[in-house]
């Protein structure tokens, strides 16, 4: 999957407009990155990439790129 496709998946998960996310963005600066989005992220990564994110992994995410890195 290309980075563009991954970003599109994330934008859907975050419920933000197409093109709203870029890899350098800090997650803390994204209003939509709340507890529900984190739950959505767990389900999306499980469905699309077959892996179950742990709470510790999610806590460790600082940027959008950190999430893209586990989307493999």
């Amino acid at each position: 999957m290309s980075e563009k496709e991954k970003l599109a998946l994330l934008e859907e998960t975050f419920d933000v407009d197409e093109g709203a996310l870029n890899p350098e963005m800090l997650l803390n600066d994204i209003d939509e990155y709340d507890s529900m989005t984190k739950l959505s992220l767990i389900v999306m990564v499980e469905e699309e990439f077959g892996k179950k994110l742990t709470g510790a992994e999610i806590k460790g995410f600082k940027t959008v790129q950190d999430i893209l890195n586990v989307m493999v």
Partner: protein, 252 residues
């Protein structure tokens, strides 16, 4: 005083934290317990803990609804009529926000938490499968009556169970069959440990949940004791209810 001497009780979902405790408590009070679950190694452990002469087990994946009729038939033919059933099998839908809550995901939760429950009730209450004074107790949840984010299927499945219990109680009351559920809040089980792992101990969700149950976190014995009471003849005038076992959660 609760006494299950010479009583034969089926425990569905006996390898889970609460299920195991229910089986142990019932056996301590004299019951012969028949354990049902998927994981054989866990069932063997529980049987060994109780003692082989008081406990036996059968393998059953309750989500395979069509298999329930035959497993109940086998149990009754090998052990005789039942005096009670504890339905402890249950799964959490794993914190799925509604936008990802597909029909398939809901079905998975509903199969174990609701459809299998009703099918067990249907099978064990067939003529010839139960003794007079037959009682059923199931594990519901405080989620049955409350809204929580990302718990749609779990909460709805427990509400469905409690609604079904009210109807079945009325329908089977004339046969002397009583049916109830208990509604625990947070219990210290594997399911809770998983919740902590996802949400974090200092998360808002955990604070909210455990903060409201001012008696602290429930242990499995607290739920097992309530189930044992509802299965006992001491509870003979109680039917169709959902008993909160929640350390105060539902009253604040």
């Amino acid at each position: 005083m609760i006494d299950f001497k010479d009583k034969r009780i089926l425990v569905v979902g006996a390898s889970s934290g609460i299920g195991e405790k229910v089986a142990v408590v019932l056996a301590e009070q004299g019951a012969d317990v028949i354990l049902l679950a998927r994981r054989e190694s866990r069932l063997i452990e529980v049987c060994n803990k109780i003692g082989e002469n008081k406990a036996s087990y059968y393998l059953c994946d309750v989500s395979e609804i069509e298999s329930i009729e035959s497993v109940v038939k086998i149990i009754v033919s090998e052990h005789g009529k039942l005096d009670g059933m504890a339905y402890v099998a249950g799964i959490s839908d794993g914190d799925v926000p509604v936008k990802y809550l597909t029909y398939e995901r809901q079905l998975t939760t509903f199969k174990t938490n609701y459809f299998a429950f009703v099918e067990f009730v249907r099978q064990v209450t067939k003529r010839g499968n139960y003794n007079d004074g037959f009682r059923i107790a199931a594990v519901s949840s405080v989620a049955s009556l409350r809204g929580e984010k990302a718990h749609v299927a779990y909460s709805a499945s427990k509400s469905a169970m409690d609604s079904a219990i009210r109807c079945i109680a009325k329908e089977l009351g004339p046969k002397g069959i009583c049916i109830n559920s208990v509604a625990p809040s947070m219990v210290n089980t594997e399911m809770y440990q998983h919740f902590l792992e996802v949400q974090g101990e200092d998360s808002e969700a955990n604070m909210k949940a455990v903060g409201r149950q001012y008696l602290g976190l429930a242990e499995t014995i607290d739920v097992a004791n309530a189930i044992a009471f509802l299965l006992s003849s001491d509870a003979r005038f109680i039917t169709g209810i959902t008993l909160p076992v929640d350390g105060g959660f539902s009253t604040t």
